[in-house]
């Protein structure tokens, strides 16, 4: 068993993938000589050499475009976009080029590329470097999208992503890079895409979380005296409808804990679908615990007010379970006691 930080687990996944398959190459801004700004690729250059591990200029469009082409040409590139907000300059290459190549060549050309990127708030990177932006990818035919929630899932999902025949975007909550988890790296640790994980079982309500909100939700649930099932969605496209529906059908209640602002993101998608499929079977309205619809504020107090904290999540879940009605979010109660 290894006890790895999430960034080390990502490095281990990259190394194991490169060792397994000589067509795997890694590139991005400062991923080679420096091992990545978040230290997710330390040692790869030394071990696999400069042909397969490359630093790029600050050119996100070229980074993704080169990954698309390299994958078309028979490599399995794993490219890094340092902060997911930067997809704003390179989205075309992900969703309009890379994701459509297989369809538009009627299967003649595949694009087995992985684009990794860090997401989320909680590290003081402020408004332009803290979003999760999953909505940019959620609707893209041809693409798969995962968001890891710790060292183990980062390792397992990244290994699986590299083995996919089509393009995969892997989102990594940057607040978790330094957190540790114990697990055994290797083939058995590979986590198939498209399958959610039930993190704890429960009978009274189902909570679905993604990325760093998995840990937050878990902590919140521990504070409550209720039997709550916690699901880590892991893959956002295609998400595991069956696992979620089966759980909610049993518990009758669904709450989502989202880092994304209330409008958009993966939450409405899940809420809308479950609401359709389990119409009449829910005992309370679907609760969405989210960030507010504002840019991520810098100052620490506000950033951690913006992010749903375990305390806040516990309070919201508690009120909801007690009353079977939706508690208003904190921002509708500014001035009142929270």
């Amino acid at each position: 068993m290894a006890r790895l930080r999430m960034n080390q687990a990502i490095g281990a996944a990259l190394a194991d993938a490169m060792a397994e398959d000589p067509t795997v190459v890694v590139f991005g801004e400062d991923v080679a000589a420096a091992g990545g700004v978040f230290k997710t690729s330390v040692g790869l250059l030394e071990r696999f050499g400069p042909e397969r591990v490359r630093d790029t200029p600050i050119s996100e469009m070229a980074i993704v475009g080169t990954a698309v082409g390299a994958a078309m040409g028979g490599l399995r590139p794993v490219a890094e976009i340092m902060f997911a907000d930067f997809f704003g300059v390179a989205l075309d290459q992900v969703v309009t080029q890379g994701a459509l190549v297989h369809y538009l060549t009627r299967g003649a050309v595949t694009v087995p590329m992985v684009i990794r990127s860090s997401v989320g708030a909680g590290r003081g990177f402020a408004a332009t470097h803290s979003r999760t932006v999953e909505e940019w990818f959620l609707s893209a035919p041809g693409l798969k999208l995962v968001e890891v929630s710790g060292a183990r899932t980062a390792y397992g999902l990244l290994r699986a992503a590299v083995r996919e025949e089509g393009p995969v975007v892997v989102l990594e909550p940057r607040a978790l890079y330094g957190t540790r988890e114990e697990f055994e790296p290797g083939d058995d640790a590979v986590i198939p895409l498209g399958v959610a994980e039930v993190r704890r079982e429960g009978a009274d309500a189902t909570v679905v979380a993604v990325g760093q909100t998995v840990g937050i939700a878990s902590e919140a649930i521990e504070r409550l005296d209720a039997s709550i099932e916690l699901i880590d969605l892991l893959t956002l496209r295609p998400w595991d409808v069956e696992t979620v529906l089966a759980s909610v059908a049993r518990t009758g209640r669904l709450a989502l804990v989202e880092e994304h602002p209330f409008t958009g993101g993966w939450g409405p998608e899940v809420a809308s679908r479950v609401g359709q499929e389990l119409f009449g079977e829910l005992t309370s309205p679907i609760l969405r615990i989210t960030a507010p619809d504002v840019p991520v504020p810098f100052t620490r107090d506000l950033e951690f007010r913006y992010l749903p904290t375990a305390e806040y999540v516990a309070a919201q879940l508690g009120r909801w379970l007690e009353t079977d009605t939706l508690p208003s979010p904190w921002w509708e109660r500014i001035g009142e006691e929270v």
Partner: protein
Amino acid sequence: MAIGKGPEVVTTYDAKTPLMRREEVIADPLARLERMMEIRHAEQKIRELHEEGLAWGSTHSCDGQEAVAVGIAAAVAPTDHVVGAHRGHGLGLALGLTPEQLLGETLGRSVGAVEGLGGSPHLVETSVGLVFTVTLMGAGIPIAAGLALAAEVQGSGRVAVAVFGDGSVNIGAFHEGLNLASLWKLPAVFVIENNHYGEFSRYDRTTAVEPLARRAEAYDLPWELVDGQDVDAVIAAVGAAVERARVGEGPTLLELRTYRYFGHSRSDRAPYRPEGELEAWRARDPIRILGERLEAVGMVDADALAEIDERCRERIEAAAAHALASPVADPGAMFRHVYPEPNR
């Protein structure tokens, strides 16, 4: 290799595969002349099909630019990788795509290059290295860099070629892709097909440098300005650039000067052309230039030229008839190939 075979094509009048068609163009000046005529007839036919209401959607014709397409096809090996753009009928046919594949795609039939699901700009035929056509301007440039990276890492000896228009030199992807390809000395050739207009704007009204290929200097790359109406000049320039790439000397930026005889797309009557411009360019018609050259050395005479032209006309008519008689894909087709099958 991730690139498999293209779809099986049912041909009517002759059994030439795309690869055979390509080899002819590489080997034989007469075949090049014939292919240029074939392209001209194909564009003419596509216009007719639209006028008759038999074809739909956007389409971009390349009449006048045939020497660029055929020259590239002759200078690049079928095992090299080419990324084209939206105005790709000529490049497709030149590289080896069959007339059925082109006409079928334009008409949205399952006999088309990509089963009619992509439409006229989306021509792909992996057996001759036409691996993708990119319809967002410049987006094919970093993709070609990536194909070249694959060639380099694999040591395959392949070269990657991106072909794009004069209007596509002002988009970020051009800049980022060329810089990266130069830094990594990738085996790539970047070809600006300067047909003088990006949609309705003359290139000198949108690009602050002349000639366009001079931008290569900003990336420490060699460049050349080439007569795109002379297929032999195109072959020489592209061939030299491909050779440089293949022996590890890195990318080249070429600018092939040419001209499009018709509007940007179907509805465009090109009112923005200065008077006399079209006529001046028609006087340098690439088919005529090659035809006269081959006549001068006795490879053809007027009768032979007429005969080749007629053969091309018939071939295109037959292909169109075949495509028109072919089925449209079933609705299930739109669900196929969205995702590839898992391989392990």
